[in-house]
Symmetry: C2
Subunit: 246 residues, 2 copies
């Protein structure tokens, strides 16, 4: 263990922020740390929209399940997978970019996530707290319209950043043996590990809610995945010019 690993292990999502703004230097440090993350063949297939306009924040809050912190946090970034800039680079060389592959979509989505996670770590290293806003995908079409995203760009998630104004309990994770395999995936290890985690999470929810919430991880996941989620996403991505033919 070292201070950096301790920082990573202490991560918890922050959903209440002090009003103190970040300095321009802090914002630049966060974004340059993001840029230092690995990127597939240096494609750097992501862009970031820093939303400073209060009216725009309010509209994005409405997209993102009306979460107040989207409007109120000092820094709100929208992380976008971006093949548009790559198309410009190809056109500069007189080349028509081929972009109808699932592979390109994976590359852009992964590049975005790697950069964002570096940003999150950089922010936390300065004593800031962060939360990912996946709910921007509740209506990614509207978010893309509000942010003027061109073809071949889609909003993967938002991110609120600021000084924490609460101290939530870190949420326990699956036992390591539930996610780690040696030399080959071993499905038979999973049921026991899931049972153990369900017991852990039942206790966690009970403590956090002073006994009002009696549930487990499996129950939460069953509730979440019993219906299709954000089932307009394929259509929206095709509207943005992404193709998944092969």
């Amino acid at each position: 263990m070292n201070p950096i690993i301790e920082l990573l292990r202490r991560h918890r999502s922050i959903r209440k922020f002090k009003p103190d703004p970040l300095t321009p230097e802090q914002i630049e440090a966060i974004l340059r740390a993001a840029q230092s993350a690995s990127t597939s063949s240096n494609v750097q297939a992501y862009s970031v929209v820093n939303v400073t306009d209060p009216a725009l924040r309010k509209k994005l809050r409405a997209v993102a399940a009306d979460q107040a912190y989207v409007e109120q946090c000092p820094l709100f970034l929208v992380w976008c997978a971006d093949m548009y800039r790559l198309r410009l680079a190809c056109e500069k060389e007189g080349v028509r970019m081929v972009h109808d592959t699932m592979e390109n979509f994976i590359v852009a989505t992964v590049d975005t996530a790697l950069a964002a996670q570096n940003a999150a770590v950089a922010a936390e290293s300065m004593g800031l707290g962060v939360v990912y806003i996946g709910s921007i995908r509740n209506d990614a079409r509207e978010a893309a319209r509000l942010l003027n995203l061109p073809e071949l760009v889609y909003p993967v998630f938002g991110m609120c950043i600021g000084y924490p104004d609460h101290e939530p309990m870190p949420r326990p994770r699956l036992p390591l043996r539930a996610i780690l395999h040696e030399n080959g995936y071993n499905p038979s290890a999973l049921p026991d590990a899931i049972d153990e985690y369900d017991a852990t999470m039942r206790q966690y929810y009970a403590e956090r809610t002073k006994g009002r919430r009696d549930t487990t991880w499996s129950k939460e996941m069953a509730d979440k995945f019993r219906q299709p989620l954000r089932d307009y996403m394929r259509a929206f991505l095709e509207e943005q010019g992404f193709r998944f033919e092969r």
Copy 2:
């Protein structure tokens, strides 16, 4: 700037490793740091295969463009997006998981990348070097077969970890203004920023190769994207049970 941001900014991919093995404690610290990353609604939709078997390493090296470091690095992890474990959790609750959405695929892919990036940072904090192995997707079907991946699991990338045995120059990134927008995406800012980066990269390649390589970022990208990449990926993912109907 602080030591953590300095660490992030110093990142460069390492492709030559000393033979010194990692301790079990180091490996556990890396994986627990990965687990501490944010995850969408706590779904934790990823798994990691630690490949310790030399014969299996050799086969994965053949998949991954014959990169010697896949075989030779002290620790080789394959990071997999995983909805299979979530299906088990649903089944435990008697629920049939709906998993035919692009949304679920995005969630699993993003979760995997966030966890992996935390692992990369944790490794680098211990003086280790890492490189992502996207070329595992050169034949993801064969990688999945070799690693016995069940339905609803796919290998997103590999990762080599170990003590660096070379010191490559960090690769310059796009100017910040090429990736950062305020309140809305501004395409008109891009051409100048790309030109600037092309000049930077021409100089970088010339220095790195002592003048033997005369190219730019745009040329590299045009060469890469003039043909479809890994165009079996959609078919492979469907074989693994992923669906993208909506």
